[in-house]
């Protein structure tokens, strides 16, 4: 039996509909699609200038002989990063979000439909340079990676705990600059472990290539 309200009556509709959950469900669908095609996928997050593109370029250089790689680049505007990655001879799709400060599962779903997933082993997704919004929007990747560089100062981690809480790997980049910057990577690493004790942390210099092999290893590649 359905009880209907009388005219003029105030009616309480219980809903339990989650807005962020809608994105998480789409992310789960993306994950399923990628699993079905056997594509290993990695969401690379970090501030503007932390070295996300450089890390992807280094990984592509190192792995392109063994795997078929594609990348999706997310930026508010321009195709600069996509062109940088594309120069290494891999398929790159650029998503320009226009006004959005993060990629979401729906944008990635659209991008996936334009890639021939059966001819890809590894997919790198470079998120929009931002340590805040991407935390609320998983994309459906196998692993979420946060890149933080010593040039951002030593307090970036405690200022942005949620993105580290949701990460599967943290990369401390530009360690070749730590002396010049006066920033101790150990302090950054300590903060990361304060927030997420079991998170794997790798120190890199994407300029010299130091530590990149360890990143690949931590990603299981």
């Amino acid at each position: 039996m359905v009880i209907r309200p009388e005219p003029g009556e105030v009616f309480d509709v219980e809903l339990e509909e989650d807005i962020l959950e809608a994105n998480r469900k789409l992310a789960e669908e993306n994950a399923e699609t990628l699993r079905r095609y056997g594509v290993r996928s990695f969401d690379i997050m970090g501030s503007v200038g932390s070295g996300k593109t450089s890390l992807i370029e280094r990984l592509v250089q190192m792995l392109k002989g063994r795997y078929r790689i594609a990348a999706i680049g997310g930026d508010v505007a321009t195709t600069i990063d996509a062109e940088r990655i594309g120069r290494h001879g891999v398929k790159v799709l650029q998503i320009n979000t226009g006004k959005e400060c993060h990629l979401d599962a729906n944008l990635v779903k659209k991008a996936l439909s334009r890639l021939d997933l059966s001819s890809i082993d590894i997919l790198f997704i470079e998120n929009v340079g931002n340590l805040i919004c991407p935390a609320d929007f998983p994309l459906g990747c196998e692993k979420r990676v946060v890149v933080v560089s010593v040039s951002e100062g030593e307090h970036m981690v405690v200022k942005h705990p949620y993105i580290f809480a949701g990460a599967d790997l943290a990369v401390i980049n530009k360690i070749d600059l730590s002396t010049i910057m006066g920033v101790d990577p150990s302090k950054i690493e300590r903060d990361i472990h304060l927030i997420k004790p079991n998170l794997t942390v790798v120190r890199t210099s994407c300029k010299t290539g130091e530590g990149v092999a360890e990143v690949a290893k931590a990603l299981g590649l």
Partner: protein
């Protein structure tokens, strides 16, 4: 930072539910927002009131309840509030996914939601 998007979704859902029931007015929308999201209560309210103009939601209130984070530990079965750690130097407080009880890794059970709990409407 994505409150406008979220507020727009809330408005769409509330209008959909009101129309479905032939409501003539919506009194309030109750929202639960987890404290582990980056959603700001003030910005959500601001965007909601911008978007509700000229819709059935005009004159409605957005009531936001914040949800405290709750975590579960798989090693010692702790279920309760998340651990918070202090950075003494900066006077900052950050969350920690270490179990407050045994130090092991925990899983977030509550605190990531942005859920419309109920909509109060007047039916014709």
């Amino acid at each position: 930072m994505h409150e406008l998007y979220v507020a727009n979704e809330i408005v769409k859902i509330a209008i959909r539910e009101a129309e479905k029931r032939g409501a003539k007015q919506v009194k309030s929308v109750q929202l639960v927002v987890g404290k582990l999201t980056h959603l700001s209560k003030e910005q959500l309210t601001f965007c909601y009131h911008l978007l509700k103009k000229d819709t059935i939601l005009k004159g409605s209130r957005l009531i936001i309840t914040e949800q405290e984070p709750k975590v579960k530990c798989s090693s010692c079965s702790y279920l309760g509030p998340i651990k918070r750690v202090a950075d003494d130097e900066l006077g900052l407080w950050a969350i920690s996914l270490a179990c407050p009880n045994c130090g092991g890794p925990v899983e977030i059970k509550e605190g990531l939601e942005c859920r419309i709990k109920a909509i109060k409407m007047v039916v014709e």
